[in-house]
Amino acid sequence: MEKPRRPPPRRDDDRKVIAGVCAGIARWLGVDPLIVRIAVVILTVASGVGLPIYIAGWLLLPPADGSPAIAARLRARPGAWQIGAGVGCLTLGGLLTIRELGLWWSDAIVWPFVLAAAGAAMLWRQTAARRAGPEPTRSPRDGVQTVEHEPATVPATEEPALAADERPPLGSALPQRLRSVYQGGFGIALVVGAGLLFLQANGALSGARDLVLAFVVVALGLGLILAPFWLRLARGLRDERNERIRSQERAEVAAHLHDSVLQTLALVQKRADDPRAVATLARRQERELRSWLSGAPAARPDECLADALRAAAEEIEEAHGVPIEVIAVGDHDLDERHRALVAAAREALANAVRHSASDEPIALYVEVAGGRTEVFVRDRGQGFDPDQIPEDRRGVRESIMGRMARHGGTAAVHSTPGQGTEVELVLDD
């Protein structure tokens, strides 16, 4: 029997002191984190290699939440660090050249100014990034492929993977916040350091040196004494915050279940004598629950083609009690021509509901790709001969074919008596 493979080491955020490297390695080795920490401290004090090893671990080990390691994230933004380092080297080289040529004011002024400018640039960049807000996440409705309104026969386990992937993980904003704090803190440190350097270079700190030294020594001592208590307090606060978040999520789920599922179940009990009404209620609830579980944004039937078609299908389904399965691959802005396409599809759906004489679900399939929008409405009903449509029946000729032709599209009806009907609508950009 094959022995299960041990997962690779990860940083441990739950028991971390700095970055969770020692705790992660300890978990991987199955030992107490204190042992690894002592080993790293001894390696750092004895030979200095402990610190590089720790930094390498911080860069290379992925965090426990499954996101990629820092080094992998840097690789995902090719050239970013090289550009930053290159600009830094060029700037420093230019400054040293100017200094060597004698076109220099004073070391006591220029270097603090350079440091302050670097710090201010970091602060400005971080502030600008915060103002711009987080990077937009891909919406399921904007994706290349969205499959919704799956038939009721599809088991819950076959929920599209997209739904789970699109939902942001709990606490996903934390790395962004930490990065923001780090950048802001580093920028402030640079500016403060530049100020201190300027004061020191100009002799303004000579009187305060003894006082600052005493303050630093006392602060270090207090820090060493209070560090364990502070760490325990920080962990307690973090655990309490996590528990509060979990509790809020539970409350939110409970409230949603009460407002939607329980209400629908009550309605189902009341209308148990009407199978069509019960089926309609169940399908509406299914759609709503799937949408909620996938974390999809609110539908925009006035802006998106797929949402407009879904809305039309829901409307006809609720009016006639015949299930309509909608499958959408891609999406398109809802301009005037695509509004006409939606109207034609709606008419085709209404015809299918009225004339197919079948309780089988009607399929509405829409695909947007390569500048072409195709919509298919299929039923498994009795079918008909398209050539036998009376001249005075304007539904297919005007509302579907005529409308599509007027907006530069095409419509075709494929039907065979006894085998159902398919209406094909095509619109090119």
């Binding site: 090719p78 050239g79 970013a80 660090w81 090289q82 550009i83 930053g84 380092a85 290159g86 600009v87 830094g88 080297c89 060029l90 700037t91 420093l92 080289g93 230019g94 040293l96 050249t97 200094r99 060597e100």
Partner: protein, 60 residues
């Protein structure tokens, strides 16, 4: 004949220029000390890094 890669070309030229300066120093034509050598080395390293980074970003 394939066109030379711009990043590689600039890197090569930068290193060539640095080598020439060092050679001139060795031959006694110029006198380099740390104050004058450091900016040259930093500029060459910065140029190589910047060009490499930009090439990677554009090729991504």
């Amino acid at each position: 004949m394939s066109r030379p890669d711009l990043a590689t070309l600039i890197t090569g030229l930068s290193v060539l220029a640095l080598g020439t300066v060092l050679l001139l120093d060795q031959a006694g034509q110029v006198s380099l000390d740390f104050g004058s050598l450091a900016p040259i080395v930093l500029t060459v390293v910065g140029l190589v890094l910047l060009v490499g980074g930009l090439a990677k970003r554009d090729g991504a």
